[in-house]
């Protein structure tokens, strides 16, 4: 266990030194919220309502994009080679991918919480039951980084994983109403929108944030945990040390 924490500490240190990843998880998300809120505010809604909408949708977008943080943490070129030494050490292969998973989760969760709290403070976004909202982000965040790690185990390559996952996340987010709601674009578009899991995540967090309605959060919690466990089990079978050689 001591070896696992040594690796986890190193993975966290590597992530917290990575300015690009930090910027992607903070400044980029804040800019998206501010720009989209500003553009959509006024003409279609009160600016506060626009900020509310985009704070929730872009926080979920950021959480789902956490898969890319995980793939970077796992297989970024400068990290992949030293990982080889961890494979050779008595630490065991589980420590490698699970420490990356946990480090990415902790890192993303901290920065996404900061962005959320910042939006509440500076953009006057009022979220009912903020602590529960932050707590509810955790399983989704964990599931997202699990996807990133699992796909790295399958593709053995950061670029392939990031390209695939960012494309999927962007498409599902667009369909799920992250950038603008598709509900007003006719029945067909509304139906397509509901196919996207992001739509259901948005609904769950909207209801929690603005209606104090927890009915969608518990299933979200359970499903996210189950998917995460399935992905971690998948990593056990797909992670092959020889892919590092």
């Amino acid at each position: 266990m001591q070896r696992f924490f040594v690796i986890l500490k190193m993975d966290l240190a590597n992530l917290f030194k990575n300015l690009i990843i930090i910027s992607y998880n903070t400044i980029f998300i804040i800019l998206l919220i501010v720009i989209m809120g500003f553009l959509f505010g006024g003409n279609y809604a009160h600016i506060e309502d626009a900020y509310k909408y985009f704070t929730v949708t872009f926080i979920i977008y950021a959480i789902l994009s956490g898969a890319m943080t995980a793939s970077n943490c796992f297989m970024e070129r400068d990290i992949k080679k030293p990982n080889l030494r961890i494979i050779y050490s008595p630490a065991g292969s589980f420590s490698i991918y699970f420490s990356k998973l946990l480090a990415s989760f902790i890192f993303d969760y901290i920065f996404h919480t900061i962005v959320l709290v910042g939006a509440c403070l500076f953009l006057h976004v009022s979220i009912n039951n903020l602590p529960l909202f932050i707590l509810s982000m955790a399983p989704v965040e964990f599931m997202s980084v699990s996807f990133g790690i699992f796909f790295c185990c399958v593709f053995h390559n950061e670029e392939a994983t990031s390209t695939l996952l960012s494309t999927i996340v962007s498409i599902l987010s667009a369909l799920g109403g992250t950038f603008f709601s598709l509900d007003g674009m006719g029945k067909a578009m509304a139906f397509i929108s509901y196919i996207s899991p992001v739509k259901w995540l948005n609904i769950a967090f909207f209801r929690l944030a603005f209606d104090n309605n927890l009915s969608y959060i518990l299933p979200t919690f359970v499903i996210s945990i189950l998917i995460s466990v399935a992905l971690i089990i998948g990593c056990r079978f797909t992670f092959k040390p020889e892919d590092y050689l």
Partner: protein, 312 residues
């Protein structure tokens, strides 16, 4: 000598390509075993199986008489590995790299401090301990790469071409360090393409080709095994009166050439006839300026066993 490792009947196939074919050898405690072979010979695959990072299709590796698969963690604890690529965190200092990798072997507190200090001293990087690895030269990185593998004082160190692309000073330092490791009782398995390194450090040599071990022994025994001829190069003041065919009358001489007052003679290794060759030259009134007798080099052995054909 006591066996530290026994490699038995290793076979490995990648797709339809059989890269190891019934490879078996022993490693003795305290020796430097060099594995030589052209590209694609199966050296790195063998090394990867010995490091337990790659599974063989069949065969087994015993460490201290026990299969490594039975106590993988214990085996890895006693193993140090220097990979072919530099496996270091470039953004961290030399000391931080050593601390991290040594702590993966359970070292902490004072034992970790002394292991790090020892490894830095071993690699000649004590004065650069606080510098980031990205500021190091290729040779310094290679030295640190080795230091990270030996900081936890393993019983056996496996080095896969650890001197690729470095300056002669760093290479010399590394080779001396390996001799020092050996004198401290460490066992080293070393793969390389450089014959002069093998000449310098090997206790024993294995030559591999096409997934098979084609020769095994000390450098002296390997040279002897391929050496059935000896070559004399004799420089004389004037060869005008001597014909090359004159030497063929001497028992054992297989061929002779004369060019620019230099006589080159190939003779049977087991027949002592140098005195007769010298007598023949002096009989013709020529004065001998220099005599050079060539013995087989390791490179000659290697090329004779693996052929001169270029490999992919």
């Amino acid at each position: 000598m006591e066996k530290i490792m026994e490699v038995k009947n290793l076979e490995k196939t990648f797709g339809n390509n059989k890269v190891l074919n019934n490879v078996s050898f022993d490693v003795y405690r305290g020796e430097v075993l060099c594995i030589l072979g052209p590209n694609g010979a199966g050296k790195t695959t063998t090394i990867n199986i010995l490091t337990a990072a790659l599974n063989s299709n069949s065969g087994e590796v015993l460490f201290n008489s026990k299969p490594i698969s039975k106590n993988l963690r214990g085996y890895k604890q006693l193993l140090g590995i220097v990979p072919q690529d530099i496996a270091l965190y470039e953004e961290l200092t030399a000391e931080r790299n050593l601390r991290f990798f040594a702590s993966l072997y359970g070292l902490h507190g004072n034992s970790l401090d002394s292991a790090v200090d020892g490894a830095l001293e071993f690699s000649g990087l004590s004065d650069r301990r606080h510098d980031k690895v990205k500021t190091f030269s290729g040779g310094m990185k290679r030295r640190l790469n080795i230091a990270c593998a030996i900081a936890h004082h393993p019983q056996i160190v496996i080095m896969d071409e650890p001197t690729v692309g470095i300056d002669p000073q760093s290479r010399n330092h590394i080779l001396n360090s390996i001799k020092k490791l050996q004198s401290n009782g460490m066992t080293v398995i070393y793969t390389t393409h450089y014959m002069e390194e093998v000449e310098s450090i090997s206790s024993r040599i294995i030559i591999m080709d096409h997934g098979n071990i084609i020769a095994e022994g000390t450098k002296e025994s390997l040279k002897e095994s391929v050496e059935n001829e000896k070559h004399y190069t004799i420089k004389i003041d004037s060869a005008d009166s001597i014909e090359p065919t004159d030497f063929l009358k001497i028992i054992g001489v297989k061929s002779s050439q004369i060019a620019d007052d230099t006589i080159k003679i190939t003779s049977d290794k087991n027949i002592e006839n140098l005195d007769q060759i010298i007598a023949l030259i002096t009989k013709h009134g020529s004065k001998i300026i220099n005599i050079n007798s060539e013995t087989a080099s390791l490179e000659m052995v290697f090329l004779k066993l693996t052929g001169r054909k270029l490999r992919d």
